[in-house]
Amino acid sequence: MGIALGAATVVVASAALLPVRTHVTRATPALVLVLGVVVAGVVGGSIAAMVVALLAAAAYNLVFIPPYWTFKVNVADDWVALAVFVVVALAMGLLVAGQAERRRAAEQREAELRTLYDHLRAMSEEREQLAEEATRAQVLERVDEQRAALLRSVSHDLRTPLASIRAVASDLRDGTAYDDETRTELLETVCDEAERLDRIVANLLSLSRIEAGALTPDRQAVALDELVADRVRRLGALFRQTRIQVEVPPDLPLVDGDYTQLDQVVTNLLENAARYAPPASLVRVSAEERNGMVDLRVADEGIGVPDWERKRIFEPFRKGEGSRSSGVGLAICKAIVEAHGGTIDVERTAGGGGATFVVSLPKREVRAP
């Protein structure tokens, strides 16, 4: 291919210069003929360049060096011109061919690299996709696990009070002879446990509302002192074994919140404290205004919450050591408080090892009359 193209160039160039060969110097046809060698070198490589260089030398001699159409050379000058032409043509052809080969090799390498790169990219994309799918599968699995855990713990939580209720009810039905005091105590147990069931059901309803994203507080002005006092009174049965002390000042700023939801937060925190408080210990409820927020604290003197569990305790189904409750209560508190634009945290009870839950809620803005 290279030889053919170079030879054609040589033939065409010779033919073109044939009519004017007597009017030009020896240098002009030499320069034009070298063009053919260059073409052969670029297209066909070094072998083609050499072949065409010799071909061009022959053509130079035949066509442009007198006597024309013979390989004879009469003048010494022409010998020199021919020799120089051969050397220049060969050197030029080899140089160009080398250059062209290097370029071709570089292009080939580039193409190879590009193929490799495309391949790698395809692989990494595939890997990313696989990783994504794996993550999705993991998330689904976790959701399934959480649902199973929810069902297990909910059925356990519902059955625990039912067990006490059923034991007492079946016993009383069978006509066991109790003195009045024991009888009253047993009936109180039934009432307490029925109320506990009711609180569990309320939490479950809240949980389903949170899951459905339907936990929008119906905001109004809430007086925490009244709410806490009322709730403590209703939960009196929980604090038979412990003492409870309420220090919520009546001049506390009003809170901007949903009464029912905040009531549930207080209920869950009190129930939690009652569960962990050792007999005869003190559960203290206090509140104060701080940094434009209202802080409510529920402190117990129980086993407390280890540091590593402080954040996780608000995740659903996390329960502190020594508890068998489902642990949705604190998760619900967190969801409600955060829906109100507040925060909830747990810290160590001052001067003791127990847990103090701190709920910060936004104040109700008082508009000028």
Binding site: S155, H156, R159, T160, P161, L162, A163, S164, I165, R166, A167, V168, S170, D171, D174, T176, A177, Y178, T182, E185, L186, T189, D192, E193, Q241, E321, G322, S323, R324
Partner: protein, 233 residues
């Protein structure tokens, strides 16, 4: 006075069970943790223990296992519904019986009575005994079974199965315990054998299908009804 230790972390349940036991003349002690239960059994050994499996500190099954290392006090476990494998585990680790929560007080009291009777029976020799469970008689020496005055023909395996249950009337025996006693120590998971033998036995004993004397405890094992304990007292 018969002393009962009730172990549960639910104060309400302790109140309910405690009151019911006291009203029937038992001396009742209650604790809320597994460790406290082990301590109480060691310090003032009760006649029977009622043990919840879901305790805050130690698993109830673990409590059973530890107590069995040095005490043969009867243990009746309380367990949540739907945890058959936990019940079986507890029984295999030394519990004597179980009651599923929620339970009726009468049921719990019957189980306690069965457990207490076995404690007394354990002391008595049982070699040449004729076992009597209601109108059922199992003569271990002569390999003869009678219901009322009617003689019942049993194959050797059926006889061994029934004799084992009759030795522990009213008490649940796990599939594994029955298989290993009747078939041999290399058996343990072939509970399908027991289904066949139990149904044969019911036919031959002429059990009332509505109120069989041979009761299946689904997923756990079998129990021969003990009329003496069911009646109360």
């Amino acid at each position: 006075m018969t002393r009962v230790l009730v172990v549960d972390d639910e104060p309400a349940l302790l109140r309910a069970v405690g009151a019911a036991l006291k009203a029937r003349g038992y001396d009742v002690a209650t604790v809320g943790t597994g460790q406290a239960a082990i301590d109480a059994i060691a310090l003032t050994p009760p006649d029977v223990v009622v043990l919840d499996l879901g305790l805050p500190d130690l698993d109830g099954i673990e409590v059973c296992r530890r107590v069995r290392e040095w005490s043969d006090v009867p243990i009746v476990v309380l367990s949540a519904e739907g945890s058959e494998e936990r019940k079986v585990l507890a029984l295999d680790q030394g519990a004597d019986d179980y009651v599923t929560k929620p339970f009726s007080t009468a049921e719990l009291l019957a189980r306690i009575r069965v457990a207490l009777r076995h404690r007394k029976d354990d002391a008595a020799p049982e070699d040449d005994a004729v076992l009597r469970v209601g109108d059922l008689q199992v003569d271990l020496a002569r390999h003869v079974v009678e219901v009322g005055d009617r003689k019942v023909d049993l194959t050797p395996k059926e006889f061994a199965f029934l004799a084992l249950l009759a030795r522990w009337p009213g008490r649940v025996l796990t599939h594994r315990a029955i298989l290993q006693d009747v078939w041999g120590p290399e058996y343990g998971s072939e509970s399908q054998y027991l289904r066949v033998y139990a149904s044969q036995l019911r036919k031959k004993l002429d059990d009332d299908p509505a109120q069989p004397r041979l009761i299946t405890e689904p997923g756990v094992g079998y129990r021969l009804v003990d009329p003496a304990a069911e009646a109360g007292g």
